[in-house]
Amino acid sequence: MPKHIASGLKYLAAVKLKDAGKSHQEIADELDVDRSTISHYLNGRNLSWNSIDVARTIIELCPPDFLKMAEAIFDEPEQSRKIVNICRERDFEVIIEDSCIGCGLCVNACTMRAIKLESLKAHADSIQCCGCELCSDDCPTNSIKILEIEYD
């Protein structure tokens, strides 16, 4: 069953990447799936719509839950990181305030590997942020603010 949901998530990721203008081969490389599977996905074949529905529900969960589900389904951090980054439907901006002491807890907490320490201060790559806020939950000085970007 988790395997089917994983396929569902990959399908949704493939659709997103296609919308972003990527070729089947590029999508296959990105998702580490063979090219014919991607073609099948994108031609609307072989997947049960049920799996896709479940996958869609997962994506719509709040960011930390989506992240945890993805981690549980893929059981491989690199893969889940990729899927979350492609499929998440919201973008975030991470602000790290000067009160940061450089303890590195956020670096450890961030599953997306969006945070790095530099000159005793954390620096976040907002493009990688999935909005789970695990980092700000751990931050001892409350120095991390995560804002959702609204597009209109």
Partner: protein
């Protein structure tokens, strides 16, 4: 969340967090000055400075009783032995601020095995101590003066035979084995066996300094001896052979940069620089001469004046600003608030982090 692991051994402990990088904070109790900078600096209030005044008294004066020390003595327990500081590992985030601001190496944070001292991003105090072997005459004054026993001077003395030479021999026909020479010899170079039938006299030429005392005292003029330098002068004694050689080692872990070594050095060999500059003042009115500050001071910068005679009482402690590192441990230990230490200058490497800069500024007066 990744949990910290704490490992305690004697009064030392390690706190470790292993994730993508391994952070380890180790505390060395015997190095700690008890200044409490870590306690006030910790951003998550994980550090507590323990009752070290009592502990210091215990360590120093196990069998000694000072009169007039009731304030400390009432807390004195035979088995009192605690870590100078405690760190709550569930609160500690291993940021390293305590380690970065510790004026000695009592708290050391390592990241993947590298101490933050060696990582450029972290601030370091500009402090040092050094003994120049070219200038050092290996007199050991610094070794004796060092309050932390951080200095070891190893010296190689010249051969005695290269400094004094001569000739000595005993005329066996004249010698009566009286033993006068043996008793007089300041170098203990002569052994006389006086037992009847087994009489003998042996002179150890390596030990003999040719002072000629034996020759002058011999009742039978049996000893013939000359001192080479007395007879011929010192022209053929090689001065290079009379030089004391050696090497000096300062234990960088124990050194507190107090400057005693430089203060007592008769040459220009010992040099130091303190991390902090400032002042220390004793309020004579408030000081009750309890001695807590003297016990706690890691620099021997505090002392009672030498008694002026029997029955005279020590009125108050005196501070030597030159050897004080302005750590403030004494001011914290003083039960009467009689000591005021001011840290006016802190010399550290440049730092870009705002919080770290603020933390360093906060320990300045």
């Amino acid at each position: 969340m990744i949990r910290n692991l704490k490992e305690v051994k004697d009064n030392n402990f390690d706190i470790t967090r292993s994730a993508e990088e391994v952070r380890n904070l180790s505390f060395n109790d015997h190095v700690c000055l008890g200044c409490g900078i870590c306690e006030s600096t910790c951003p998550v209030e994980a550090i507590t400075l323990n009752a070290i005044a009592v502990d210091a008294r215990h360590r120093i004066s196990n069998d000694v009783y000072f009169s007039g020390h009731e304030k400390i003595a009432q807390n004195f327990k035979e088995d009192f032995d605690v870590q100078r500081i405690s760190i709550d590992e569930s609160k500690c985030v291993l940021c390293g601020m305590c380690s970065g601001l510790c004026p000695v190496d009592a708290l050391v944070l390592t990241i993947d095995g590298t101490p933050i001292k060696e990582i450029e991003a972290y601030p370091h105090y500009n402090a040092f101590s050094d003994i120049d072997d070219d200038e050092c005459i290996y007199c050991k004054r610094c070794e004796i003066a060092c309050p932390r026993d951080a200095i070891v001077i190893e010296r190689v003395l010249p051969d005695r035979a290269d400094l004094v030479t001569g000739e000595i021999q005993v005329d066996d026909d004249e010698c009566i084995y009286c033993g006068v020479c043996q008793e007089l010899c300041p170098a203990e170079a002569i052994v006389v066996d006086q037992e009847t039938g087994k009489e003998s006299i042996v002179i150890d030429k390596d030990a003999c300094v040719y002072c000629l005392v034996c020759k002058k005292a011999c009742p039978t003029n049996a000893i013939k001896a000359v001192c080479r330098s007395c007879s011929y002068g010192e022209y053929d004694l090689d001065p290079a052979k009379a030089v004391v050689k050696g090497n000096s080692v300062i234990d960088s872990e124990l050194c507190v940069f107090c400057g005693w070594c430089e203060g007592v050095c008769p040459t220009d060999a010992a040099k130091h620089k303190k991390p902090f500059e400032g002042s220390i003042e004793i309020d004579d009115e408030k000081c009750q001469a309890c001695g807590a500050c003297v016990d706690i001071c890691g620099c021997n910068a505090l002392a009672f004046p030498v008694s002026s005679g029997p029955g005279s009482r020590m009125e108050h402690v005196i501070a030597n600003n030159d050897y004080c590192v302005k750590c403030k441990a004494c001011a914290k230990a003083c039960p009467n608030g009689a000591i005021t230490v001011k840290r006016t200058e802190i010399d550290h490497t440049p730092i870009s982090s705002t919080t770290w800069k603020e933390a360093l500024d906060a320990i300045k007066d």
